[in-house]
């Protein structure tokens, strides 16, 4: 993201961007002789997110491949920056000093004549540093990518329409059938009804039909017995209806009336 406003955000690849502003004068690049006006140093340091960031800058500024750092040169530059900041008594995070020490060590190892023999041979002291630089750089990039995503309240906004007359209605409890059945199981345990002869496969459709018949035969009115049967329900349906009527008779909820032999049977509710 080439976001430039109001941020001490340093972009190595964008040389024309003021690198620092000193006494009102924009400073496009840090002087190559490393001279930085003291006032700018603090700004300069602020622009970096730690020693890895500073090192990356030193490398990128010279268009160098990260995998091929001229360690001596970079170390010298780095150490000079650090010393200068030390002299100016700028508060310097300890990490910068640790890095300086590490660089100095790598440099000294690089300067040593390569041992002719054994294991030491394969060991480039720069490898670990390179790995860390790469690792840091990818997240530095990821942070910029993140900033480049659409931000809420910066690039887009959640919208909202008014709900006039909004009333919070009390919700009715939700019930899962399972809860009802578990409750029933409890009752059954308590009532010890499992042995009841009423426990039959057909029981529920008969019960349902009983309710249906009761609703049909509203109190007081006679209704033809045959009208209670729904032919389209088929043989099983007829049987269930018949059982329901018998059950209702047994429970004294229905009354059957036949005026004479072979006359139509009428049904009356014994409800009140």
């Amino acid at each position: 993201m080439e976001q430039t406003e109001g941020r001490p955000h340093y972009h190595p690849e964008q040389e024309e961007m003021p690198f620092a502003v000193v006494l009102g004068e924009p400073l496009a690049t840090p002087p190559t002789d490393l001279y930085i006006p003291p006032d700018a140093l603090e700004v300069f340091l602020d622009a970096f997110e730690g020693p890895l960031d500073l090192l990356l800058y030193l490398i990128r500024r010279q268009n160098l491949n990260i995998l091929d750092i001229p360690i001596a040169e970079i170390t010298d530059q780095y150490v000079q920056y650090i010393e200068m900041m030390n002299e100016l008594r700028l508060e310097l995070a300890a990490e910068y000093l640790v890095m300086a020490a590490m660089l100095a060590e790598i440099k000294s190892r690089m300067l040593l004549p390569k041992p002719v023999t054994e294991e030491e041979e394969g060991d480039d002291p720069r490898a670990e540093l390179i790995r860390r630089l790469q690792e840091y750089e990818r997240y530095k990039q990821a942070a910029e990518d993140l900033d480049g995503l659409q931000h809420m309240t910066r690039d887009t906004f959640q919208v909202h329409a008014e709900l006039v007359d909004r009333h919070v209605e009390a919700r009715e409890p939700d019930v899962v059938l399972r809860e009802v059945l578990l409750a029933l199981q409890d009752v059954l345990h308590r009532a010890d009804m499992f042995t009841s002869h009423r426990v039959e496969k057909e029981a529920l459709s008969v019960r349902e039909k009983m309710s249906y018949v009761l609703q049909r035969v509203n109190a007081g009115e006679f209704i033809r017995f045959t009208d209670l049967f729904v032919i389209s329900e088929g043989r099983l349906g007829l049987v269930v209806t018949f059982l329901a009527i018998l059950e209702l008779l047994k429970e004294a909820l229905l009354e059957l009336v036949q005026a004479e032999d072979f006359a139509p049977i009428h049904v009356k509710a014994k409800l009140s």
């Binding site: 006039v164 009390a170 919700r171 399972r178 578990l182 349902e208 009983m210 004294a252 009140s272």
Partner: protein
Amino acid sequence: MPDEDRLKQIVEAALLAAGRPLALDQLQALFEVREQPEKKQLREALAMLSEAYQGRGIEVAEVGSGFRIQVRAEFTPWVSKLWAERPPKYSRALLETLALIAYRQPITRGEIEDIRGVSVSTNIVKTLTEREWVRVVGHRDVPGKPALYVTTKEFLDYFNLKGLNELPTLAEIRDLDSINRELELVDPETESQPKPASHESE
């Protein structure tokens, strides 16, 4: 000046983003001075917007402090649920009563009490009746003329049953395992009951 279409889009975006009524001069102020639309043009844009909202969930309204976009009143019943409180739970006693009415209907309150071994509060019966899950189908012709309760079509609808015979038989309720199996067969829907909107867990 942005063209008509663009003006309409900007006005829409601004009214919806603001979340409060905007007066015409507040709308004007969104534009650079030299491309500022006249109030007449803004009114036209608002009228176009209003027309575009025909048959939609929202509408443009002019209120004291300007214009705003609001939910059409007819959708309030659904939208209000966004702020609904978490529903209370029914008591065990209520669920037992409901189950007994479902399985033993038509049944009187006294019969329920006989089976449960405790009295059934008037409140429970009232709640179940108000919820339209049970109703009185008549009165048993015995002293006291107790009401006979049955379950309703709403009861079946709520629990997603075609008929009472889709309920597990009493024999099957004997052990929990069979309930679970039965429920997977009969009732895959009701397990995922609506969660109240405002209480999403992480």
